[in-house]
């Protein structure tokens, strides 16, 4: 054998193996097994903080696990490889089968086996049949949904082609789901943003707090919508074992599809995202923004804003930082915001209920150099106190003012706003994936529930002038009810070819 022939033979063998049902099944199993670690280890895509925690807790095994992608299983090369092979295997097996079925759909029912009485369902009787009766039976069977073929003394019938059609539809739909999922994540984007009551957001990359584009994403496809958060509302369970459990959230926003359109009022709630220009805006979290005014020794306002505080527990004990860089020396505040304030020796300042029934700010005030000039970017949620000294500690209710020692100025807690965080996604594949999923269910239902059956009628002359009529059938599948169906076909046949008892003539 020449080298090329051998290579070709080998390739053909490889292709045939890859596209066999057994390989697809194996790959499918492999995909299932490969996804197990993704459910047992924390994943970067969904819980990045837990991944860092795990790495800190397991300095030995952590880095190794990381190297083999245990923390981003679903984006790992090996997961991708299985996915791709499955895709190729499925394509290679489904397309040829579609062609075969296409031909079969236009073929005729096969002729009867020699011995009909061997079949599962079988009935026979004596009659004085004639040729026209065969045509009548064939027509009656056809009217009941069977495909028929006739000869001069027989009928062959088959039904249930929809089973294979459904099966192929299912497998093709599966291919489509894989395609839609892949292309959607390549072309789409997702991002998050925190918006305070009274503030707004416009859909361009600079306004996001975090932004993850797909591999094939192109900025020019971002829709120019914008919205403003008018009001955020939350309610909680009062009393009982689930005291403080959230009961309802929603955000009332003013939305514009593009800068020139008129604003409309929309309510975004959990389970009710805003659908706009191919993107979806979800309400994913919320928190408090205490409004604080800082004045210097001369009474000039040097800082005034509602700072975003991050919730630390289910009762919204929140922490945050305020930095006033425009005074000399600079001022910084580390603070707790407590919607329902309580203090005890073990827990320190904390909140006992998520709603603002008794709001309070606990702050420690620092003076010195905020370290903002070093050029290194700083988190807005952390105060670098290495070059500062603590000058005071105070708790304030809304409207109260804290006078700093030595005439260094004052801090007023003016009140609070709420903020809401939104996740904004654009996934052009998702409609396709849903459509394909629905087709897959349709295909499955047909393929599992439609019975594929064959039936035959044969008339055999016997010596005493009557004929033997036989009706028999078999099922190519395991759906129940074959015997009943064949018996019903037989009784239809009997109306055209009535039974005669021996000795009737």
């Amino acid at each position: 054998m020449g080298f090329m022939t051998r290579v070709i033979a080998y390739l053909r063998w490889a292709w045939r193996s890859l596209t066999s049902m057994r390989t697809a099944l194996f790959l499918l199993f492999l995909l299932a097994i490969a996804s197990v670690p993704g459910s047992l280890f924390p994943q970067r895509g969904t819980t990045p903080l837990k991944v860092n925690q795990y790495l800190r807790d397991h300095p030995q095994s952590g880095p190794f696990l990381d190297k083999i992608h245990m923390f981003d299983v679903f984006a790992s090369p090996w997961f991708g490889a299985i996915y791709l092979l499955l895709f190729v295997s499925l394509t290679g097996c489904v397309l040829p089968r579609t062609l075969v079925h296409w031909k079969e759909l236009r073929s005729e029912p096969p002729s009867a086996p020699r011995n009909l009485s061997r079949l599962t369902a079988h009935e026979s009787w004596n009659s004085q049949a004639n040729a026209t009766a065969v045509a009548d039976v064939a027509k009656a069977w056809k009217d009941r949904g069977w495909r028929v073929r006739t000869g001069d003394s027989w009928v062959a019938a088959e039904r249930g082609y929809a089973r294979e059609t459904g099966n192929l539809l299912f497998h093709l739909a599966l291919l489509f789901v894989l395609l839609a999922v892949g292309s959607g994540s390549a072309l789409g984007t997702k991002g998050t943003v925190i918006v305070r009551e009274g503030s707004g957001f416009a859909n361009n990359i600079t306004q996001y707090d975090t932004f993850t584009p797909g591999r094939a994403f192109n900025t020019s496809t971002m829709a120019p919508f914008s919205f403003q958060l008018k009001n955020f509302f939350a309610s909680y369970q009062l009393g009982g074992m689930q005291n403080g459990a959230p009961r309802e959230f929603h955000a009332d926003v003013l939305v514009k599809n593009n800068p020139d359109s008129t604003a409309r009022k929309v309510r975004i709630a959990v389970n009710e995202p805003l659908r706009i220009e191919g993107s979806s805006v979800y309400l994913v979290g919320h928190g408090y923004s205490p409004k604080i005014t800082i004045k210097d020794g001369k009474g000039n306002v040097v800082w005034q804003d509602a700072a975003i505080f991050l919730p630390q527990d289910g009762n919204f004990t929140s922490t945050g930082v305020v930095k006033a860089p425009d005074t000399v020396p600079q001022l910084g505040i580390q603070a707790f915001f407590l919607p329902t304030a309580a203090v005890d020796m073990t827990q320190g300042p904390h909140s006992t209920f998520p709603a603002p029934t008794d709001p309070m700010v606990f702050m420690s005030v620092w003076s010195g150099d905020l370290g903002l000039d070093s050029g290194v970017p700083q988190s807005v949620f952390r105060l670098d106190t290495t070059k500062m000294k603590k000058i005071g500690l105070e708790r304030l209710k809304p409207g109260q003012t804290y006078k700093l020692p030595d005439g260094q100025g004052s801090i007023t807690f003016d009140g609070y706003k709420e903020w809401a965080s939104f996740s904004i996604t654009h996934d052009p594949g998702k409609g396709w994936a849903l459509g394909a999923g629905m087709l897959a269910i349709l295909g499955l239902t047909l393929s599992l529930l439609v019975p594929r059956r064959r039936a035959w009628l044969r008339i055999t002359e016997s010596e005493n002038g009557t004929s033997l009529v036989e009706v028999a059938g078999l099922s190519k599948t395991e759906a129940p009810g074959l015997v009943a169906e064949i018996s019903s076909l037989a009784s239809t046949a009997r109306t055209y070819i009535p039974e005669v008892l021996h000795g009737d003539q």
Partner: protein, 336 residues
Amino acid sequence: MAINESLAQASNIMVYGAMTTLTGAMGAFAIALAKGRRIESIEESVARSESGSHQARMGATATLERPAVSTAVVSDAGRGEGRRAGNIGMSLTWLSMIFAGAALAFRGFSAHRLPWGNMYEFSIAAGFGVLLAYCVLSLKRDLRWLGLFIVIPVLLDLGLAITVLYTESAQLVPALNSYWLAIHVTAAIVCMGSFAVGAALSALYLVAEHVEKRVAAGQEPGRLGAFAERIPASDRLDLMAYRIHAFMFPLWTFAVIAGSIWAEAAWGRYWGWDPKETWAFITWVIYAAYLHARATAGWRGRKAAIVALAGFAAIMFNYFIVNMYVSGLHSYSGLN
């Protein structure tokens, strides 16, 4: 709206009621099973299946459906005492189903919502689902021989629910407050209940197949022989298990897709490999593999039954381990 405490109380009483009647049913079914005999002896089943495979070879076309026996009574829960015990078991099972249904209804009315918002309620609902599936199926055929293998798991399920998983009646967290709860969770509960029946049949199949194989090889039936004499022939069990799985697989597919539609609305992505989603996918793949295995020569029978049991094990893992020990977005067990 406030919780109606007396209805919540009544719901708990109904759960205890169901557990009491189930215990009675368990005893009755155990007696019925001990006194019962299969209509066709093991030797007859072996002979029939040998001629059946001969016939299939002769016929040359795919699976031939075997004669009408498949719809007839496959096992007789005996006469006299055994029969009476079976009937008592059946009646008590109906009563348990009604109690479990009432427990759910009272719970739902007490919180003014569908009663499947946390693990306690899922468990009661799943137990009700299994009993309902069994009672409805028993209308068409004699399933007294299966009763014991239905009531024991349900009893365990309810016992676990009322002790370990118990959660006070309360309103839902916002993410669960959606009509997709009705669609997705209902479909999932129905599938779980039916797959449990399918798993019971597959396990019984393994026993019957083991004994029949020994008999076919001319050996003694062995320790399980006495048990195998009281349940239907392996091919019947296999067919029943297959029909349940084949009927439920599209619904399970639907449940997964409905879940992803809901996830899209609630969390902003339709598939995110959350642990719960990952295990739903694994379960789906295993049942798909079962259907393929059953259609593949060399894999039907024993291996297919084991794959079906693996599918149910994955469901149980997803339900207990993932809900209770693996944190994810689906943390609605009400326990943490």
